[in-house]
Symmetry: C2
Subunit: 152 residues, 2 copies
């Protein structure tokens, strides 16, 4: 199974929670409690999300975290990228080093993986934080997931 890490899952929960009141300042403790993730882990995630520019932080007694921009402007790629690095199923499509592919066969495969990676990327980009908290029925217009994203 292709899967994202647990931490990323938490991260989405956290952001989704905070998106319920995008203007407000949340303390780490508050978030931890609301989402049910242990404080140390929560703070770690919050820090990472700040680095990823999805959150802003304010220090001091009345400090806390808040969304860096509107929930509509934060997509799942942003979140995943912030917490797990560049999106991709294989290193093939994401790595910058030139001498990666040793096997001649796999090199032939490379560009196809890139296409697939691209499709995954696009799929994640389609869904924003604002949409994530919508009830099930509400159709979030993902443009009929298919070849649209795969330009052959």
């Amino acid at each position: 199974m292709i899967r994202i890490g647990k931490l990323t899952d938490y991260g989405i929960l956290i952001l989704t929670h905070m998106a319920q009141d995008g203007e407000r300042l949340f303390t780490a403790h508050e978030v931890s409690h609301a989402v049910g993730v242990p404080l140390p882990t929560t703070t770690k995630l919050l820090k990472t999300l700040v680095k990823g520019q999805l959150l802003e932080s304010h220090r001091g007694t009345k400090g806390g975290y808040l969304l860096a921009r509107n929930p509509e402007m934060i997509s799942m790629v942003d979140v995943v990228t912030a917490l797990e690095g560049p999106v991709g199923l294989t290193d093939c499509g994401t790595s910058q080093q030139p001498g990666e592919c040793r096997r001649s066969v796999s090199c032939a495969i490379k560009t196809n993986w890139q296409r697939i990676n691209q499709a995954v990327h696009d799929a994640l980009a389609q869904v924003t934080l604002a949409e994530m908290r919508l009830p099930a029925v509400h159709p979030v217009h993902l443009p009929a997931p298919r070849a649209a994203s795969l330009r052959v």
Copy 2:
């Protein structure tokens, strides 16, 4: 980064290699040598691929493995599913158990994950084994899948 396991990567290499002569019988030893993956690991993968019904096996002195169907009929979802289980970024969309989601928040999120998972699934379904071995530059143009020779 979202990624597939190393073994799945190997699996694709193996199948790609075997697709070069879809009719022929390959021994585990032969495949191992050709692909550059240690024999024990190769056999493990081959067994799994048989279980996943992507390969057929023949025992005995003249035994070996061959593709269960035409390379055009084997997609990346098939391969990934065989080697890693149901395709999905989270358990949310794939798990069958009803009582999985404890958190009320994450339940609201569920169907959106399912959409994303679906998109990834479809993206993988787009690419067949036959396409994977084509040279990079060619915009993958299948010579009209010859339905006549289909075994299934």
